[in-house]
Structures are given as structure tokens and as C-alpha cells.
Symmetry: C2
Subunit: 235 residues, 2 copies
Amino acid sequence: MITSADRRIARNSLLLSKLEPEMADAVLDQSREVTFERGAALFLQGETADCIHIVVDGWVKLYRIAPNGAEAVVCVFTRGQSFGEALAFQKRDYPVAAEAVTEARVILVPARVIAALIRETPELAMSLLAATFVHLHGLVSQVEQLKAQTGAQRVAEFLLELCPVDEGACTVTLPYDKVLIAGRLGIKPESLSRAFARLKEHGVSVRKNHAAIRSVGGLRAFAESDPAEAWSKAL
Amino acid sequence: MITSADRRIARNSLLLSKLEPEMADAVLDQSREVTFERGAALFLQGETADCIHIVVDGWVKLYRIAPNGAEAVVCVFTRGQSFGEALAFQKRDYPVAAEAVTEARVILVPARVIAALIRETPELAMSLLAATFVHLHGLVSQVEQLKAQTGAQRVAEFLLELCPVDEGACTVTLPYDKVLIAGRLGIKPESLSRAFARLKEHGVSVRKNHAAIRSVGGLRAFAESDPAEAWSKAL
DNA sequence: GGATGTCGTTGACTTAGGTCAAGCTGCCGG
DNA sequence: CCGGCAGCTTGACCTAAGTCAACGACATCC
């Protein structure tokens, strides 16, 4: 049984937000909620996909193990975000693995529920497609960042995404530990430490898991500057 | 009017291959074919998406211009490949730009055609979703490669994808110029040159736009080895 | 209080890859 | 035949980031 508070969170997910409330509830009535403890695997790379996942609480990372053994973090999801839409009603394997990085409550929507409903409800297909497009777009942005920005600039972007405001000063809370942030950004933890140190020159000070930003606009200018001249723009 | 030879190519695309032949032909009857000369833009980043594209001949690159002005190549498509499925029947903007890198013939499938057919043909929604999933998967692989492999290893992977065989020796033709290959792999042309030079030690010799590979298995071992020890495996 | 463990930082060093400049082809147009 | 140009390679140099090791700050458990 899924509580009404959790239903409210789930209905805001990409998967359900475009559906009529009755329809969303019908989906949720046939789903179950599971709590994973920190470090637990939701599923592994190569397993047959049988569920769409909606995170209700906590943080979940999607990652891949490269042939050489290196772990590449692909995405990190939290409250209200869903994933696995695209492969839920085809017989496919998960191309990534998923792991709870904090204790996490997750709603598992069985693929067969979606498959059954999709015939009578075309909007559901639209929702799946729209959600998948958002993920696609996110990955395109990530590829762009990996190819066009230095590590320190990606760290700045990461902080900017956490900012509640567009200009001026603000303080943000780092959502998960620094090892994972480094993985998400494609750098090593040591490099993340050094990147934070360099960002001091651009008005960022990090203490524990809080980052104070003197000027959001200034930080954005650093993140979007040409890497070749990024160093010279101190202060 | 689209020739029957071109229809045959188009029907092999992800978008159409799962549909009944009559259905695929119905889609094509309402589409048009356009030839773009080298360097011409199919569409720009931020334009409203109104077509799904199927490449019939030539090569097309999808890329993004980062805020700092750098160009990041996201994908390169050729004969029989389609793209833009996910955003075709929602009112969305293209998140990337597309440009013909050789003279290219492309079929443009209007979004409204898809939108009209999807209500009566659920398989079409499946096709869109399946095609989008393939693109998603491709981007996940690309993120993994960027985060877990060195430039030279990505070059090796690129060659392996072109190989017609799984083992032994073979020769492949580089499909487009080296500046674009470098962009696709997220490195500079100079680094690509140096990567080819290093691959000589692993049995690869490049002359003009042909690459001779002494041992596909050996090259794969290099591509999948830990970057830290990749240097020591000189053959 | 002290042993232990995790997480994060710092330093010294090495390597991958970018930058800039020069040079080498092959090709096209005079 | 020559000049100019585009595509590619090479060399010298420099920065970004990985590696390895040491260490500090905390928290937990005994």
C-alpha cells in the first residue's frame, strides 16, 4: 500500500504528471513501494527490465561498469524522479545498474501494468516518450559538458543547478557525498577537492556539505568561459 | 516522390522496421526527400522540431554549441538511421543542431503525420519508443566511454565498431574526415593523430582513410584495458 | 580514553591531452 | 609548372587531471 503523501510525490514525476489523476492512481494501485538501504542494488546491468522506478525519497545512482572495471556514474535521481520508462514494456535488459546511495524509498511500477494500460490510453505512450526525451536531453547535455568543459567548470555547473536563484548570493547543500559527486562529473575525488579550492577565487566557499556562492552570475560566467581563459578570470 | 530503392533503405530504419509494410509506405507517402549539400544545416539548435529524419545517403552530424562557443559532436548518422523520433509529435525544440558532413539525402517525416497515425496504430508508439531507447543507450555508452577510457582507447573502440569481423585481421575505411572523428570522440585532431601513432604498437596502421588492423582481439584488449596499464601492453 | 574506519584534503609526481606553430602532403586552378 | 589551400602530421611546450601516499577531521565502538 502506498501512502497518499507518497502518491502525491509520485504523481509529480514525469511518468505520471501528464495523466488524469484517476489514471495515475490506477497505475499506483498496481505498484508497490520498496525501501532499499544504503548501498543496496535496485537492479543490475543486464538484468531483464520489468519495472519503471519512481524515487519517493533518498538518492539513487545509475551507473555502468566499463569492461576495464571502472565505474561510470550516468545519472543520480531523487524524490519525484522516475527512470526506466523506455524499456519497461519491451523485453529489454537494463543497460545500467541502479544502487541506493542513501536509504531510499522507491515505487516499482510493473512493466505489464504499463503494457496493459497503453492500448486504451494513448496519453500514457506520450508520457513515456516525453519522459524518455527528458532523459535523452539530459544525456546530451552531459556529453556536451564532458567534451566542452574542464572538470572545475563542470563542478561550477553542478553547483549552479542546485541554486534556487538566478543572480546574487546563495548557499546550497551538497546532496550526496563527494565521492559520488566526483563520479557524476567524471573526475576523481582528489580532483574535486582541488576544483573546490580553485573555485574559491570565483567566490565559492565549501564547508562540509554546504557551499556558499558569492555571485551566481559570476560563477556562471566562469562555468561558461572558454577553458583556455578560465584560469585568468580570477575573482 | 521517394524512389523504391530509397524506400527500401528507409524501411530498415528503427522508426519503420517494426511496422507493417503498408503502414511504412503510408508514412513515406506523406514524407519528402531532400538533398543537402556538404556543410548545409538540416536544422539548428533551438528550432521547433517538426520532422523526424531518416538518412538515405551520406553522413549527418548532430552537435551542440556550448555556451563557451565550443562545438560538441553528439552523434553521426548514415544510411538507414533515423533521429528526432522522441520530439516529433510533441511541441518541442531540437536540443541539438544537424549538419550534412557529406552531400546527404534525407527523408523528412512530418511530425503531424506521426501524430495523426499514432492514435490508430499503437505499434507506431512502440517504434518511437524503441528507437528513442536505442539513442538513449548509445548516449549512455558514450558517457561511459568519456568517463572510463582514454582518448586512444576511444579511438580503438571507434575502429572496432567499424570492423566487420570479431577476430583476426581486417581493414576498415574511415567513414568521414579526421576532424569529425576527433570531434565525435571528444579529442582534438592533433590528439587523434597521436592516438593513431600509438595504436601502431597495437597492430593498427593508418594510411589515408584506411586502417589495417592486425588483430581485432588484440585491439579490443587494448580498448578495454585499464588506462593505468594501457601503455605497458606494447605488442 | 584509545583503537579503528571512513571521508576528505593536501602534496609530490606523472601522464594525457590541449595549444601553438611549423611543415608536409595532395589537389585544384591558373 | 607553379602558387595557394585544405587536411593532416609533427614537435615543443604547458595545463588539467590522475596516481600514490600521507595526513587530518570525525564518528563509532570497545
